[in-house]
């Protein structure tokens, strides 16, 4: 190969208490697609933030196109031709595509005004050159998430970047959009760009990358040729041991209907209907998954079921009783468990002790408080200790540990312990493994399947289609607040579900 576009040599970066990068070396050849693979917290983002000038390394050197570079801030990175497509887009929603692209670099006309027309022509030209098919005059709020990502790409190309960093780019995309993104990456390579792809999804790496550097807990495990390395080997490098990707579970034995949602409509905080005329059933002994891209009404649906949000119309029946207007506490008492989407916002009082968090839903009744309203902290502590050992929650000071000081995986374990300990008839689970490592993910998946096997009804909402496909017995695809179709997970076709997630109804007959 013709030398390296990027060399990050012996990079060390320490945060208080954590070595995020320990002597990591990354070499990316000119005009290659190079993947960086690692679990959450492996140090991928830190490494890229260093390359992009957001952090300065404590140790190590960076060479760009063979010469030493000092990257102190993102402006330096931009000048060196490095651009980053962030996981969370940084776009002004009521601005047009072009306005977003030129933001900060507005071309001036002879009269000192912004030369929007000229910029639009340039954007259209770039869009054509790389096959992005972006309409320069469209407003950001009116285009799809996939298109918004292309605007981010254009933003970088407009600034003449020749090294593009993609940070978990497929997290927000439907399977079809992922395919399109991959062909865009190939096109960018064909046009001479160098690409770094940060991801934890092995399939994407196999599909598009040429070489792959694996990070684990801040260490560089190695760089391999993707073509000659199997997915299993990559997984082993990432996790450090053999990983079983298939969840082992028996066929479901569905019982009576536990949760019945009838033509539910829910408005979001802005007053628009986020869930529309949605009907869904969950039986005991089965896991029903709601598959969809983030922002298609999943959050509002969960809030309506659990009572955190109000319903506009329709009914929710739980064990045959209408709970549409029931309070949150009534639903808990009736036997509804909820593993919330955002564990810091809803799941835990971070400044409470662990044992106090473990009684967040049951503190108001014996044995934790008596009929006079006195708390029994001894009972709370021993309950805490029991759950800690039963669910293997790692906490430095046992039940007295503040929730804030625990790791994400253990925080999630604590929530799961609390909810499963309620032995609920219905478990509403949202994004249960977001941001967790493979060990914790396996554990949590197993617990959810166990609940199903105990005859509980489980409703799972996840933005990771893989998780839904692996874990669920039936899959309901949601798009724009409507259930587009429901299929059995057994033998389900990922493409078909992807199409439904994009709002295209399930075809009646397929060739």
């Amino acid at each position: 190969m013709a030398g390296y576009a990027i060399e990050m040599l012996d990079i060390t970066k320490v945060f208080p208490g954590v070595v995020a990068n320990d002597d990591v070396t990354l070499r990316v050849a000119e005009n290659e697609i190079h993947a960086i693979l690692g679990e959450n917290g492996a140090g991928k983002s830190t490494l890229m933030s260093i390359l992009f000038g957001l952090y300065s390394p404590d140790k190590g050197r960076i060479r760009i196109h063979g010469s030493d570079a000092a990257i102190k801030d993102p402006n330096d990175a931009t000048e060196l031709g490095i651009g980053m497509v962030h996981q969370h887009f940084k776009l002004v929603h009521n601005y047009s595509v072009t306005e977003n692209i030129i933001l900060g670099l507005e071309p001036r006309s002879r009269f000192g005004t912004v030369d929007l027309g000229g910029a639009e022509r340039r954007v259209a030209e770039l869009s054509r050159q790389y096959g992005l098919a972006v309409e320069p005059k469209a407003k950001i709020e009116s285009i799809t998430v996939g298109m918004q990502q292309r605007v981010e790409i254009l933003k970088i190309l407009y600034r003449n970047a020749d090294i593009l960093i993609f940070d978990e780019p497929t997290a927000v995309l439907t399977p079809q959009e992922v395919d399109e993104l991959i062909s865009i990456m190939r096109r960018l390579k064909a046009e001479g760009k160098t690409i770094i792809l940060i991801t934890h999804k092995l399939r994407e790496i196999k599909e598009v990358a040429e070489r792959c550097t694996v990070l684990r807990r801040g260490h560089c495990i190695g760089t391999v040729d993707v073509a000659t390395t199997s997915e299993d080997e990559l997984a082993r490098m990432m996790v450090g041991r053999e990983v079983k990707f298939r969840i082992e579970k028996h066929a479901p034995k569905p019982g009576p209907v536990i949760l019945q949602i009838e033509s539910l409509t829910v408005k979001n905080s802005k007053g628009y209907p986020a869930v529309q005329n949605l009907s869904l059933e969950v039986r005991s002994g089965e896991i029903v998954g709601v598959a969809g891209v983030d922002g298609n009404g999943q959050t509002e649906l969960i809030q309506a079921i659990t009572g955190l949000g109000d319903c506009e119309s329709g009914r929710i029946l739980f064990k045959g009783r209408d709970i549409t207007l029931a309070s949150i506490r009534e639903r808990i008492r009736m036997g509804m468990g909820h593993i919330p989407e955002d564990r810091h916002k809803h799941g835990l009082v971070l400044d409470f002790r662990l044992d106090e968090n473990l009684v967040l839903k049951t503190f108001d009744a014996p044995p934790f408080s008596d009929s006079l309203g006195m708390m029994d902290f001894a009972a709370i502590a021993s309950h805490g200790e029991r759950l800690i050992s039963q669910y293997d929650i790692r906490a430095g000071q046992g039940s007295a540990t503040t929730a804030r000081s625990m790791s994400g995986g253990n925080q999630q374990k604590a929530i799961i312990a609390r909810e499963i300990d309620l032995s609920p008839d219905l478990l509403v689970v949202a994004q249960p493994t977001r941001g967790l490592d493979v060990g914790a993910i396996e554990y949590i998946h197993k617990r959810i399947v166990d609940e199903r096997d105990k005859g509980r009804a489980v409703l799972l909402i996840s933005f990771e289609l893989d998780e839904v496909m692996d874990l669920c017995d039936r899959i309901a695809a949601i798009s724009k607040g409507e259930i587009v179709g429901i299929v059995d997970a057994e033998g389900a076709d990922e493409r078909a579900i992807g199409a439904m997630m994009a709002g295209i109804a399930k075809p009646e007959a397929r060739p």
Binding site: P16, K345, D364
Partner: protein
Amino acid sequence: MSPSGTKAVSTILDRVIASERTVSVFVVLLGFLCGTVLILAVGRNPLHMYEALIQTLTGFDLTRGTWNSRYIGEWLTASLPLILCGMSMGFAARTGLFNIGAEGQYIVGLTVAQFVALFGPRVPGLHWMLAVVAGGLAGAGWGGIVGWLKARFAVSEVVATIMLNYVAFFLSRYFTRLIPDANTYRTPAFPETATLSNRLLEDLTNGSRLNTGLFVALLACLAYWFIIERTRLGFSLRATGLNKEAARYGGIKVTKAIVVSMSIAGAFAGLAGVVVALGSFSYGRVLGGYDNYGFNGIAVALVGNSSAGGTLISGLLFGMLASAQPLMQSRQIPKEVTWIISGLVVVFISLRSGFRMLLEWRAKRAAARGERLVEGDGSE
């Protein structure tokens, strides 16, 4: 600085910032240090300030070698409304609310107590108790309105309480002036049965104004601790204060918690009003301006970390600074120094997060030098 010196400094800093309590103590000491430097800067002897403070606290006059327990009584009397208003602010803060309206709740409590004192049944023992209860309830109602507005209509409690402070003030003036024989600044004298004066406490403190309000404040403090730390209500209020969304998710009725919390906070401020009205005065006042106990309560709660014991101690501290003023002046120390010290203490305590950042920065630097490499525990 030598490496060992740096290490010692950071160890001390670590200790200080480790708990809210030590931060408060540290901050108060720092405030006094600044006050001392200031007195030196204006060419006076700072020892005189400390003499005045010692006299306030113990009654000993070190210059003359005399002892008078009246100073202790006056110190405690000055502290009572500060403690109660501090608890008003602190209780709301524990539920995540900013009760800037303790002043209004104080005025309402004070006014209602004055009315009960003048028009209530003149039965010894019962009369003042009735006034105490009525004043506390009035404060609770005034605070509760704010809680209800916030819970029902999402009105910011900061705005609502500030507005209601004015409403309380002018209503108090209006109604008090309607009392027969009231002039522009006072009503007729209270009957003996209504005042909180306590012969025993007066005798013990050589005729100071110390009164039964002392017991009211101590009982209130006990109630504060009990509710927050021991009861189901306290648990749900604390959960609401620390994470409203998680509390709601756990089945706690957050709207109810807000109303209850503001009511209890208002009751504390109302009691402060009663204690001042019937303890320090023998007649009803037509208020000419704010007494400012409510606002000073904010500082008291901040330094006391909104805990029962902390607020008690910090109320005594601010009470000491206030009642030491005349003694300082007689020793040629400008009394404004006490305000500067209280002000600095509040500023420093607000800098707590700054201290924390400093500590994190130090840890980071130490880690970068490789002194302390802590591997993650691998669970994430």
